[in-house]
């Protein structure tokens, strides 16, 4: 679809055709979410058969809902740059940076006897400080990507190292802990049985879905992922789109930072490092095209459940969590193989490699 559009006549027509194709793909779902749902159903059925007494239970589902949000928010932060044809290797460093700043305000700056209104104000202040830091990180990253034309892997490798370096320098490798109860609530309390952190994640996922499929910015993010030059020639300010992509990604890191602070009751420069590559794995498993241009939040959402079902199922069966990680890798390769050999129409004809 896209390739034929590229060959067609004038710039206007080709862009229009490309946009049409893109819109159709967005509505219909260029990614086969159905296949992922089948995989999820098979896994659930399998674990329910293997461990009928512990797996198909409300408490198990609730436990999974407690665990999904942090990886989920970080995966969203990874998926949006991936769809734009980039990547953000600095998501963990950004989340930890924001977490440290907020933790520092809450533990060192705020008077320990703060309560009531003053506590609420201090907490709001800490959250705003973290938010501002993430916006600055996002703007700087976006500007570097846009202005230099260097691949975002390199730019975000640099920002990642820098942010992590600042974190290590200011904390000397220590962690900060001891936050107000109101913050801990985020990852401990439930509403109608659903963890608050999961509700936050679900709302954010819906907002991200709407942003990507129903707004001008969302369409443009897909467009620059498909073809940055063509998008620029069609009159879109691609620099602005790139800056927005990394600001949105960093804002998601801010939310992830809050959830992680609440969950671990601590903040540090080295927390959750192992999540970085897993967020890429989750996004790609969810059908985000590693070349950019395609990907749906629904797919990512299902993929996160697949990963969590495997992790929880293995855990309940007393199988080593390391084997769960190995099977995540295997599942990704399997899904890629199925896509390659069954859906080669979509993924087969591209020679670009990274």
């Amino acid at each position: 679809m896209r390739d034929s559009a590229r060959g067609a006549g004038g710039v206007d027509r080709s862009v229009a055709a490309q946009l049409d194709g893109l819109l159709i793909a967005l509505r219909r779902g260029s990614v086969n979410v159905g296949g992922l749902l089948v995989l999820l159903a098979v896994l659930i059925a399998l674990f329910s058969l293997l461990i009928p007494t512990t797996f198909p239970r409300v408490t198990t589902v609730q436990a999974m809902m407690f665990q999904i949000p942090e990886l989920g928010l970080l995966s969203l932060a990874m998926a949006i740059p991936l769809i734009s044809g980039g990547i953000n290797l600095a998501i963990i460093a950004t989340a930890n940076g924001a977490g440290l700043l907020m933790a520092w305000i809450l533990t060192a700056v705020m008077p320990p006897d703060a309560a009531g209104t003053s506590l609420a104000l201090w907490m709001a202040g800490a959250l705003v400080a973290g938010l501002l830091l993430c916006i600055v990180v996002g703007v700087v990253t976006g500007l570097l990507v846009a202005a230099l034309g260097v691949h975002p892997i390199l730019v975000t490798l640099g920002t990642m190292t820098l942010l992590h370096g600042f974190g290590i320098y200011f904390t000397r490798g220590r962690t900060l802990s001891g936050f107000p109860d109101a913050l801990i609530l985020v990852s401990n309390e439930t509403i109608w049985g659903i963890p608050i952190s999961f509700i936050i994640f679900a709302i954010v996922a819906v907002v991200a879905h709407v942003l990507l499929t129903r707004t001008t910015l969302g369409i443009r993010i897909h467009m620059i992922g498909s073809n940055l030059e063509a998008t620029r020639f069609s009159g879109v300010d691609t620099r602005r789109v790139l800056v927005s992509v990394y600001v949105v990604s960093s804002l998601l890191c801010w939310l992830a930072a809050i959830v992680m602070m609440a969950r671990f009751n601590s903040a540090g420069a080295d927390i959750a490092q192992s999540y970085l590559l897993i967020t890429i794995l989750a996004a790609i498993l969810g059908g985000v095209d590693p070349y950019g241009g395609f990907g749906r939040i629904v797919g990512l959402f299902v993929a996160l459940w697949i990963l969590q079902v495997i992790a929880s199922g293995f855990n309940l069966m007393n199988i080593s969590p390391h084997l769960a990680l190995a099977s995540w890798g295997l599942i990704l390769l399997l899904v890629m193989a199925v896509k390659r050999f069954a859906g080669s129409l979509h993924f087969g004809s591209r020679a670009r490699r990274l």
């Binding site: 290797l89 570097l144 230099l148 034309g149 260097v150 691949h151 892997i153 390199l154 730019v155 490798l157 640099g158 920002t159 990642m160 190292t161 820098l162 942010l163 992590h164 370096g165 600042f166 290590i168 320098y169 000397r172 490798g173 490092q273 590559l277 897993i278 890429i280 794995l281 790609i284 590693p290 070349y291 080593s320 390391h322 084997l323 769960a324 990680l325 190995a326 995540w328 890798g329 295997l330 990704l332 390769l333 890629m336 193989a337 390659r340 993924f347 087969g348 591209r350 020679a351 670009r352 490699r353 990274l354």
Partner: protein, 332 residues
């Protein structure tokens, strides 16, 4: 002579060389120990493992790919050799031979998956990396092996030299192996047919396959070579710390990648030189060592590396943008 220099070093390399000279002058003025022979030799030895890995990553980057599973490969091969040597009394040659074979096999799996699945190599190697690591930790139970045999853990000095100030300078195995790896990689990439094919593939995969280059073969070479060097690096790393730990290399992936990129290897493929990678390592090593000698907190070093990466890619990005504009202008 200038032409020779520019043939050896491209633009990034020149800038790096200049930065190294400037840093060396500043550091040697502020600390007399900086330019001493013992300091230099210690520095090289400390960075030997990084350099060996960076040489392999450099080859894969030139071929147009990325591999981040090499840390898992290095840990797995290191553990295999240590296990065979301690539990079954294998001598050096068979233990290291099997480790090298395992490294090549693990690298080749990446090449085969990248080629047949037609997926970007970073995705493939993220998947294989998590599989390799998870299986390694699962099989080994994350237990360390301390009692490495003598042929492995003895610090053997090829050259022993006592300076005027009574400091002992030893040229040890890590340094010798590192130099050998640099020479072999340089020869492979610059002087052999297959090395030039790696550049051709990275520069333009479509054109490379149309002129009859065996794409799978070149990829097998690149990833297999990295796997082999990962095994070498694993061996050297264990010989320096006298133990084999399954998680020894965890988290090194992006650091080594950063070093190779700092040295001018491009993610797009087809660009870069072994000399550049060596300069990149040298630059980082000197910065760390110099700042240490100046009494700057070692906690500060991450910030310095981050800034170095950002400055370096800004410079190459700026230069590339200008050449690209010229190319676009010519084409239209």
């Amino acid at each position: 002579m200038p032409r020779l220099l520019s043939a050896v070093f491209g633009r990034t390399e020149t800038a790096l060389a200049a930065a190294i000279v400037i840093a060396a002058v500043i550091f040697s003025l502020s600390s007399p120990y900086f330019l001493s022979l013992p300091n230099f030799v210690n520095l090289i030895e400390a960075y030997s493992v990084t350099t060996i890995l960076a040489a392999g990553v450099f080859v894969v980057l030139v071929s147009g790919g990325i591999d981040i599973s090499f840390a898992a490969t290095a840990s797995a091969t290191q553990y295999l050799a240590a296990y065979l040597a301690t539990s079954y009394g294998f001598s050096a040659a068979p233990a290291l031979g099997l480790a090298a074979a395992l490294g090549i096999a693990m690298g080749s799996i990446n090449a085969l998956l990248t080629y047949y699945l037609r997926v970007v190599s970073i995705i493939v190697t993220i998947a294989t990396s998590s599989i390799y690591y998870a299986l390694l930790i699962y099989i080994t139970n994350a237990t360390e092996i301390y009692n490495l045999p003598d042929w492995w853990s003895n610090r053997f000095a090829f050259v022993r030299y006592v300076t005027a100030s009574d400091d002992v300078v030893k040229i040890t195995l890590p340094i010798v192996v590192m130099v050998a790896v640099i020479v072999v990689t340089q020869y492979l990439m610059a002087r052999t047919r297959i090395g030039r094919q790696v550049y051709a593939l990275g520069g333009n995969p479509e054109a490379a396959s149309r002129i009859g280059i065996n794409v799978l073969g070149v990829q097998l070479l690149a990833y297999g070579y990295l796997g082999l060097l990962a095994a070498v690096a694993g061996f050297i790393q264990a010989s320096r710390v006298h133990q084999a730990v399954p998680t020894a290399m965890a988290g090194q992936e992006l650091n080594v990648l950063a070093v190779a990129i700092l040295g001018g290897a491009s993610l797009v493929g087809g660009i870069g030189s072994m000399g550049g990678v060596v300069l990149g390592v040298l630059f980082l090593a000197m910065l760390q060592n110099g700042l240490n000698l100046l009494g700057v907190s070692s906690y500060f070093f991450g910030i310095v590396i981050g800034l170095a990466i950002l400055v370096s890619i800004s410079m190459t990005g700026y230069a590339e943008k200008h050449t690209r504009r010229r190319r676009v202008a010519r084409a239209s």
